[in-house]
Symmetry: C2
Subunit: 341 residues, 2 copies
C-alpha cells in the first residue's frame, strides 16, 4: 500500500519550453521557473527526481514534429527520462522510498500515475547510474540493436559510431562479448582513449583527425560485417562504402542531423545491393515486453566484469540545457545525466 | 553420350566491345564481326543461340569495374545470358538437340564446357520465352527478393518499380499471389496499362505524369509495407518517404544510375529508423542451389494462370545494342530478348 504525506510548499524547479530552438538550445528558448510541487491525487504518487537522463531524442521532441511521441508543446516541461524516489503516494503501486524510472522531464518533482508499465520500480539499493546507463531504454537499445539486427559472429568486424556515447559504448561491448573485433568511431583523443581503455574496443578511429575511408580500410581490412550507426551523415556513408558481404547496418540514430533537420542521403547505399547487405532501423521501446530479457543478460555481463558503464554527470537543474547541448558538442563520455537531488 | 558433328565453315556473328561506353552504347563502342564458329574440344559442346537476354547488368559489365563478375574486356564478346540448342557435342553432359541456358553473349554460336551448373539443360519442348522470363535468373530474382526479403502478407501494400519490366512484373505478381495489394510504378501509359491489364497489379503510377509523392499517398493511404526497388534515385527516395511501420525495402537494381555511375543518396533513408523498417540488397545468383525451389513454385503459378510473362523481342544480332540501350529508354515490356535463330 502507498502512504500519503503532504508535500505542500515543496518548491519544484522546472525548465519549460518557450520557443522552438533552431540548432543548439538558446537561452530564450527555455525558462527555469519555480512552481509548488503538485499534490498527488488518488492513484498517483509524487517522485523527486534524482537523475535526469539527457538523450538526443529529447532534442527532437522540441521540434514540433510528431515522432513516436508527440512534440513538447510551448509552455510544457521539457521531456526527458529520469530516475527518482517516491516521496508521497496515493496509490498501491508505489510506496514512499521506492526508486522509479519514468519520464521525469527537466524538473525536480513529477507526478506519476499508478502504471508499472511507464513507471517501473527499481531495486532500492540499485546503482542509479547503472540503471540509467544500462538497465533502461539506453541499454535495451544497445542490446536489441546489436543482438537482434547486428548479430555479430565470432571473428567478424563490428564498427560502432558515437562509440564513447551511452548507447554506442554498450553496443560495442556486446559485440566484443559475442567474439567480434570491434572498432569504434569517436571525436577527439579523450573519447577514443575511453573507447579502447574503458570500454575495451579493439581500436577507435578519431573522425576529426583520421581520414575516415583510409582509417576504415586500415582497421577493417576484410570489410565491416556489422555497423551500429548512431550518427548518420558522412560517417554512415563512409562505412557503407566499406561493407563486407552480407553486412548488417543497424540504424540507431542520426545525431548528425538532429540540429539541422537535414539528412543527406548516403550515396553508398548501393553497397547494400553489391554486398547483399541489409540496413535496418528499430526503436527499442517497441521491444518493451522483452526488456527483462535484455537486463538479465546485461546484468550477468556486468557482474562478470565484461560490461562497463560510464556517466558524465552535470549538477543541478540549471545545467540541464547545457547538458542537452553538450550531446551535440561532444561533452559526454557514456550516459549524459544531470543530478537534481 | 554426346555426338560429334563437324561445324567448320559455320559463320558466327559476334558483337565485340571496342570502347567503354559513356551513357548509352554508341556505334563506335562495339563492332559486329563474323568469325568461324569454333570447333568444340573434348569435354565441350557448341550451342547455337536462340534468344539472348538483355539485362541492365549487361550494361554494368561494360564499365571496367569489378562486380560479382569481372568486367568485359575490350575485344571480348559482350556478355549476356541466353538460351540455345546444342548443335555439336564432344561431352557427356549435352546431346545434339538439347536446349541449354548459359552465358551465350551477343553471338550466334558459343562453346560450352561440360558443366551443368553454369549451363543447365531445359526441357526440349520448353517454352524458350518462358525459360528466359521466368525459369532462370530473372524469375529467381523476383522470387527470392519478394519471398525472402519482401515477405508480403495478405492485405499489405506492395509497391514495385520498373513494374512492366522482366523482374518487376514477376515480383509484383508474386506479391499479388501472396494476397497483397500491389501498386506498380512505370513510365508511360502503355506500360502502366500492361502492368494492370496483363500482369494484374491493382494500380500503376506513371512516374512521368503523376507527382510521385501525391500518387503514392493516393494509392498507398496506409503506407508502403513492401517496396521492390529496381531503379534507385528519386523514385526510391519518394517511396522511402511513404513507408509503413516495419516496412521491407528490397534493393534489386539501380537502373537509374547504371548509365551515369552516380547514385544520389536517398535522404529519406531516415524513414527506416522512424518506421523500424529494413532495406536489403541481394543477388539471386547466390541462391543458385535453391533455384529449383523457385521454379517449382513459379511453374505451379503459371499453370494455375496466376503468373503471366511477356517479352519484347528484337530480331537479329544487329539489334542487340539497340535492345541493350532500349532497357534505359523504356523500350521493353517484360523480358527484353533478341532472337538470333
Amino acid at each position: 500500500m502507498g502512504s500519503f504525506s503532504t508535500v505542500s510548499d515543496l518548491p519544484n524547479r522546472q525548465i519549460l519550453l518557450r520557443r522552438r530552438p533552431s540548432g543548439l538550445v538558446k537561452p530564450d528558448d527555455t525558462e527555469l521557473i519555480t512552481a509548488p510541487a503538485p499534490e498527488p491525487a488518488d492513484g498517483e504518487a509524487l517522485v523527486r527526481t534524482t537523475y535526469v537522463g539527457v538523450d538526443a531524442a529529447a532534442r527532437t521532441w522540441l521540434d514540433g514534429q510528431p515522432g513516436y511521441l508527440p512534440p513538447v508543446e510551448l509552455g510544457d516541461v521539457i521531456r526527458a527520462a529520469g530516475i527518482g524516489e517516491v516521496v508521497a503516494s496515493r496509490c498501491d503501486a508505489y510506496a514512499v522510498g521506492d526508486i522509479v524510472t519514468t519520464l521525469t522531464g527537466f524538473q525536480e518533482y513529477v507526478i506519476v500515475r499508478d502504471d508499472l508499465f511507464t513507471t517501473p520500480v527499481a531495486d532500492r539499493d540499485a546503482d542509479q547510474l547503472a540503471v540509467m546507463s544500462v538497465y533502461g531504454p539506453t541499454g535495451a537499445t544497445a542490446y536489441f540493436g546489436m543482438t537482434g539486427i547486428g548479430r555479430p559472429q565470432p571473428g567478424e568486424t563490428v564498427v560502432v559510431s558515437a562509440a564513447a556515447g551511452a548507447t554506442g559504448s554498450v553496443a560495442g561491448q556486446i559485440a566484443k562479448i559475442a567474439g567480434a573485433r570491434v572498432v569504434g568511431i569517436a571525436g577527439g583523443p579523450e573519447k577514443c582513449h575511453a573507447v579502447v581503455e574503458d570500454f575495451g574496443f579493439d581500436a577507435c578511429i578519431d573522425y576529426r583527425e583520421d581520414g575516415l575511408p583510409a582509417a576504415l580500410k586500415k582497421h577493417c581490412p576484410r570489410g565491416v560485417d556489422v555497423y551500429f550507426d548512431n550518427v548518420g551523415g558522412p560517417i554512415l556513408d563512409a562505412v557503407l562504402g566499406r561493407l563486407a558481404h552480407k553486412a548488417r547496418v543497424v540504424l540507431c540514430g542520426v545525431i548528425s542531423s538532429y540540429l539541422t533537420g537535414e539528412h543527406p542521403g548516403p550515396a553508398n547505399y548501393v553497397s547494400l545491393l553489391a554486398k547483399s547487405a541489409l540496413m535496418q532501423g528499430f526503436n527499442a521501446l517497441e521491444e518493451w515486453s522483452r526488456f527483462d530479457e535484455a537486463f538479465v543478460a546485461l546484468r550477468q555481463w556486468e557482474l562478470d566484469g565484461r560490461l562497463k558503464h560510464r556517466e558524465t554527470v552535470f549538477e543541478g537543474i540549471e545545467s540541464c540545457v547545457d547538458a542537452l547541448n553538450g550531446l551535440f558538442t561532444g561533452a559526454n563520455i557514456g550516459k549524459m545525466l544531470v543530478r537534481l537531488s
